[in-house]
């Protein structure tokens, strides 16, 4: 089921696994990025979301303040029952810097980062 769709991001929900999957591509403007983050939070508030996989493999850079914004919503997701979040590491080096900033945020402890979606899924399935 598609929860949110934009030219540069799609968010899908797997009800059986209670898993959200964000698939990002290219450079996403600040407002659209935050809309996608908000959509994730709103959906998780109303539906059981046990795990999230964020595929950033083909994503472009994210503004530092937007990266902080994404980190700031993590406690809300955890409070609603999130058990684990996994990222597929981006190829773009600036997006890697964005993700590194996200990873350094105290509120994102426990999030894990994988080279492939299949590795990420193995970890999420083990939770």
């Amino acid at each position: 089921m598609i929860v949110h769709k934009h030219a540069n991001v799609t968010i899908e929900y797997d009800q059986a696994k209670q898993r959200l999957k964000q698939t990002w591509s290219g450079f996403i403007p600040s407002k659209d990025f935050r809309d996608a983050i908000d959509a994730t939070v709103v959906f998780a508030a109303k539906n059981p979301v046990r795990t999230i996989i964020s595929d950033t493999l083909n994503q472009g850079v994210v503004k530092p303040e937007d990266t902080e914004y994404a980190g700031s919503v993590m406690p809300k997701l955890v409070a609603k029952g999130l058990k684990g979040m996994a990222f597929v590491i981006p190829e773009n080096i600036f997006t890697q810097l964005s993700l590194k900033k996200f990873a350094n945020n105290e509120q994102t402890k426990g999030v894990q980062y994988f080279k492939s979606e299949s590795d990420a899924v193995v970890w999420l399935n083990s939770l």
């Binding site: 503004k63 080096i93 600036f94 900033k101 990873a103």
Partner: protein, 366 residues
Amino acid sequence: MQTFPPPRIYDALGLIMSYYPNHFTEQAKVEIETLLDHCLETLHDDSEKFLSTLIIKALRKMIGTSGIDEHIYLKRYEITQIELFNILIKEFPFVKWGHEIANTLICNKLKDSENAIIVDIGIGQGIQMVHLLQKLNSLPKIKNVTIIGIEPFIDALEATGENFSRLKSQVNYNLHFEPWNIFIENIKEATFAEKLAPFNGEIIINASLALHHIQTLDNRLQVMSVLRSPSPKGIVLVEPNIDHFEPDFNRRFHNCYQHFYHIFQVIDNLNIDQYTKNGLKLFFGREIEDIIGHKNSERYEKHEPAFRWIEKLIHGGFAVQNNFLEKLPEVGSGIDLYFNESGYLGFRYKSETVLSVIYAEPVHIA
């Protein structure tokens, strides 16, 4: 815990620079801000991040982006001019030993002279010359020394005059200072001859970290010719060994990065506190701003590699002399000195020759 290593800063910086001149899209500007944000996080004790911050600062000035204000992070490292001069002269090996080697060489060349004329190009406040004049005191034959100080900044010349006045009573020869408030490239052979005419003695020309400020090749060649015209005993050049004369922005960036990356590592080796180290690095930010942040026609820090200065000297009628010092000093901070067979003394840190000292004498055609 699954994590991942951060990407190499140099790679990220190289990508950003490749957008020059007209590919600074909205995404590119966010990339610049992201890299800057990454660098500023642990700026204090990370030389590569400090250097990258200065380069990004220069680039942003050039392309006019706004966003994170790096000045807030950098200004805590500002140090006073006096502190800076002290560190440069007493601690920073490229300046301290560049001066020392040039002065030793000049003394060696004047050891049998009674009268000497030293033409110092870009004399500044005369710091190097004060050390040289003290050193000349040990020469038994020297009687009269004239310093012709060429300097475009009148305030600096006045300070030099005061420095020399204090020194006069401490030296056992007659000291005369002739200030010349002019850009070296504006001096013609005739006016140079007129300026030298009243004085007697062997002429030594010293140009420490000065000639790279001449903007064009034609002017550089003309200056060499003018300097050759009075048949000086010799000329000493001290110059950074790097190509910032390069007109291509991307090549210039890579040269700039390599050069200052090594200089900053040397600064990290100095026995001074971290704030002072960063203050010294910040000082070089002005040069980086000139190299990266200004249009080529508005630039003054146009360094050239030693071999190109040698070419200019030869073109001007000089012949370079190698192995001009019998014994090379230990300069410390991980720097080794070596004579390059093409005719210069190199200050090398790891694989990078950061500074060169060149000595040349006029070729006399029979």
